[in-house]
């Protein structure tokens, strides 16, 4: 039913969504924790910076990323010193672009989730002898699982539908940076409406199924969190 190029585009799309979402969770969780633990001008400035990708058009971010990632930029020269090729028009460049573009979709739910963990709960646990790792593993992680799920779901869904920024950074190269959204656009341009319909329907069905499954997975942790709160 699908041609090899279409399977490739689907695979690249899923790979990009999963990779960028996981990496974002790992890298932004400490930042989201710090942001949730108080109020200050510094925190507000960082929050504003992190929210920028939400309000800016993708072309603005794409434009600056193209300049940053192109082979002659200072950033690419630095990467070259470390033995890494320039990221423009490569899958790795798409991962970086997607992470930046989905940043607010991860940081904000995490920040809100961490903010609901009461400070006195942490202090009581420490007073009872819990070390930092025990706090994270036995208190913070279970209580923030719903927020982590929400952040992952939002980032994953957002990345599945990306088009403008990945087109600017990736160049729509078959087998390397051509995502399903770009392939659909290609089919429309080529007057292959039947294939465009098929791929659009596939993306719609796939996105719905994955999101539905993820929300189903989230129900268990949410119920456990609610039970723990009731016991407190």
């Amino acid at each position: 039913m699908l041609y090899p190029s279409e399977w490739q585009a689907l695979w690249l799309t899923v790979k990009l969504a999963l990779l960028s979402s996981f990496l974002l969770l790992l890298l932004t969780a400490p930042l989201a924790w710090w942001l949730s633990r108080g109020q200050s001008s510094g925190r507000n400035a960082i929050n504003a910076l992190l929210t920028l990708p939400l309000v800016l058009p993708p072309t603005v971010l794409g434009f600056y990323l193209v300049l940053l990632l192109s082979p002659d930029s200072w950033f690419s020269q630095l990467l070259r010193l470390m033995g890494i090729e320039a990221l423009a028009f490569r899958f790795e460049g798409l991962v970086l672009a997607s992470m930046l573009y989905s940043l607010p979709f991860v940081v904000q739910p995490l920040q809100q989730g961490f903010g609901q963990i009461a400070q006195d709960l942490l202090q009581q646990s420490q007073a009872l002898g819990a070390n930092r790792w025990q706090l994270v593993a036995q208190l913070i992680w279970p209580l923030s699982r719903p927020a982590l799920f929400s952040a992952f779901i939002l980032s994953f869904a957002h990345t599945l539908g990306e088009f403008g920024i990945v087109l600017m950074i990736g160049g729509n190269i078959p087998g390397q940076t051509q995502l399903l959204s770009m392939l659909i656009y290609d089919q429309v341009e080529s007057l292959n409406y039947a294939r465009a319909h098929l791929l659009s329907g596939l993306l719609l069905l796939f996105s719905f199924s994955v999101l539905f499954w993820l929300y189903q997975q989230q129900r268990g942790p949410q119920q456990r969190v609610q039970q723990q709160r009731n016991q407190q």
Partner: protein, 260 residues
């Protein structure tokens, strides 16, 4: 949760696909170039992929490091610009492979192109800021006696190929397109069935005329080549596509040797 971890691990270590040999091409070649690439593959066994966009966009991408060894542009302005920015070790070259022709398509309810321009509501052209056929279309419309009225009717698409899409979906009753997007009948028969059907539908809905060459500036289709050791077969394809045996293909695709 365990399943997610397994999937993630598989993703991290999944092998990347082999980089295929790539060329970049102006959007007006979107229908006909895949036919030529298939013929080349049938003859030599070498598979080459093409990426299509407006010439201006592709030129910018190449300047920023896009991995295209060959660029088939619809305007020598872009290829000459790339040549100027080329370093000696890239061993860049440019050349011309034909003059493009502009076609005007108009809906059957109009008797003539003049009537269509005067009475239609929307005229579709490619965006002149980065599409050479859009520039040529705008130049043609600006010379027209109805210039002020026509200006308000213009609808710009991102590139030449999308003008066809606008016409086939009824978003415009008149369109100015490259001839390669409505090639000769013998070349249309080599296109995929879905494309043939759409072109036949457009031919039923309206008619096309070649715009006289003196009414728009030359559309000089030129190529830009830079040596890339990872794409060793591109130069051979470039030489093959310009050989005398392929001249009929380019004629059927609407290209001429001179702008007249």
């Amino acid at each position: 949760m365990r399943g997610l971890k397994l999937v993630f691990t598989a993703l991290i270590f999944s092998c990347s696909t082999n980089a295929a040999q790539l060329i970049a091409a102006a959007s007006d070649l979107r229908l006909v170039l895949p036919v030529l690439l298939q013929q080349y593959q049938a003859k030599t066994g070498v598979s080459i992929n093409a990426v299509f966009a407006s010439s201006g966009k592709l030129s910018q991408q190449i300047q920023h490091g896009a991995p295209f060894s060959l660029f088939l542009a619809a305007d020598s302005l872009y290829t000459n610009n790339l040549l100027q920015h080329c370093s000696p070790k890239q061993r860049c070259q440019t050349g011309v492979y034909g003059h493009g022709q502009l076609l005007i398509w108009y809906h059957h309810r109009f008797q003539t192109a003049e009537q269509a321009l005067a009475q239609s509501h929307h005229i579709a052209i490619a965006d002149p800021s980065h599409a050479p056929y859009g520039k040529a279309a705008l130049a043609y419309l600006q010379q027209h006696s109805l210039r002020p009225e026509l200006q308000a009717k213009i609808r710009r698409s991102d590139n030449a190929a999308l003008v066809l899409h606008m016409l086939s979906t009824g978003q415009a009753e008149v369109g100015l397109i490259g001839h390669a997007l409505m090639p000769a009948a013998q070349l249309q028969q080599l296109l995929p069935q879905s494309q043939q059907q759409q072109l036949q539908l457009l031919q039923k809905l309206g008619q096309t005329e070649v715009v006289p060459a003196h009414l728009y500036p030359p559309i000089l289709h030129s190529w830009f080549y830079q040596a890339d050791p990872k794409q060793p077969d591109i130069k051979a394809f470039l030489d093959w596509m310009q050989a005398a045996e392929q001249q009929q293909f380019w004629t059927d695709a609407g290209f001429k040797r001179e702008h007249n």
